[in-house]
Subunit: 277 residues, 2 copies
Amino acid sequence: MLQTQDNSFLIDCGEGTQLQLSKYKIKTGKISHIFISHLHGDHYFGLIGLLSSMSLLNRNTDLHLYGPPKLLDIINLQLDVADVNLSYTLHFHKLEEEGEIANTGKITISSFKVAHRIDCWGFLFREIKQSRSVLSEKAKSFEIPAAYFSELQKGKDYTTKKGTIISNEDVTQPAKKGRSFAYCADTLFLEHLSATVKEVDLLYHETTYLKDQEEKAASRYHSTTVQAATIAKMAKAGRLIIGHFSSKYDNVEPFLEEAKAVFENTVLAEEGTCYFL
Amino acid sequence: MLQTQDNSFLIDCGEGTQLQLSKYKIKTGKISHIFISHLHGDHYFGLIGLLSSMSLLNRNTDLHLYGPPKLLDIINLQLDVADVNLSYTLHFHKLEEEGEIANTGKITISSFKVAHRIDCWGFLFREIKQSRSVLSEKAKSFEIPAAYFSELQKGKDYTTKKGTIISNEDVTQPAKKGRSFAYCADTLFLEHLSATVKEVDLLYHETTYLKDQEEKAASRYHSTTVQAATIAKMAKAGRLIIGHFSSKYDNVEPFLEEAKAVFENTVLAEEGTCYFL
């Protein structure tokens, strides 16, 4: 879940997701958008249950769903055999091309291709850069009328009646930098992803295997610890979250050690943990 | 799960079933047959995950799956988009007519129609009546040759060389009665079901609502406590298990009280509980 002040974005939805949401007291009613990276079961088998439960709870707000085209066929078939009409409007958006797929007014979401055994997508969330904020006391001291403040927010200077130019920088302060998060789904090591997620504040990259399993990782279209950390380092990411550890490992601490050796600011994706930005 | 000495039968498979099996230490490898009563999500959304996990665990024994015809379309579509071939052979048996659908040599399984909002099936499991068992000391005392014992098991008398007839009942004892279990899925109250499940040892019947909600139950194709217990009483069942309680009830004790008032030998279906026969 990616949660902002206004939205809850669910990214992938394995079996039992609705139980996990309930366990962590996340209200499904707040989820406005769901993004499904690819159609392997561990990434979407919980979706039909979640969509059905939302309907049983009489949700009436629209839901936006993004995924590979065939996801809609699967959902429609399952609703059809159950003779169910959802209580809310489900807007399905096919993932077919890279680029912006959503814009909430405060956040833009882009999809980018990664390389997995089947068609698979990553997602980049960016807060839209806010406008400059007016230092109203200062602006008033220059006798700038409030009606002009919206122009100041855009970065414009002010010219007084006497022709004096008041520099914008004297009466505003810069917009806060928009925060960003990238989710790289399941993927082979792709060096060029570091450009796609350049300077992202928080990067999720899978690390199914430890570094000594590089060949196996490649053969299964997955990545190792060192590969994930290399993407974070090349991208100059703020922080790296690693996850999707192969179930053959009982202890995941070596994942953290290996990744940190390449990119210090790494954390493990742990169930029930919140990471703040 | 219905477990016998030789088989594990899984009856319906809601979301998270594989997690529950793991929690109760039931090995999925032992499941030989899966029966899906109908295509409402709470009865089958966990199936595709279970089938997939069995394959990831490299199962190589055949699996028999019984369900409404469209279940196969759903499974095939989901395997197809994931580009997955199962590691084992899945035999799909469409539920289309009432009658015997499986015979393991020790158990017969029959399907019967119930009445729900969509096509829905109940299942009746019966141990095949074993042959009579020979009282070997007694048989020897009559000098019956061991080669004839298989005839005795079938109930035949024995004629000695001198022409004396030894009555089968003198040298054998009756077969133990085969045990039986019926699962009535989700259904309206159907009086005629009591004939279908006549004298069953253990009967599962749904009780979504308490008795004061008879109209609501009917409108939603479900049953009440009194209705379930009435079926058990009319069928002269050995024991009744009630379940599928509506989530609007916090306390299920009244279900037990109401059912027991009609059919004393009733128990609640409780998560993780084993009922022996």
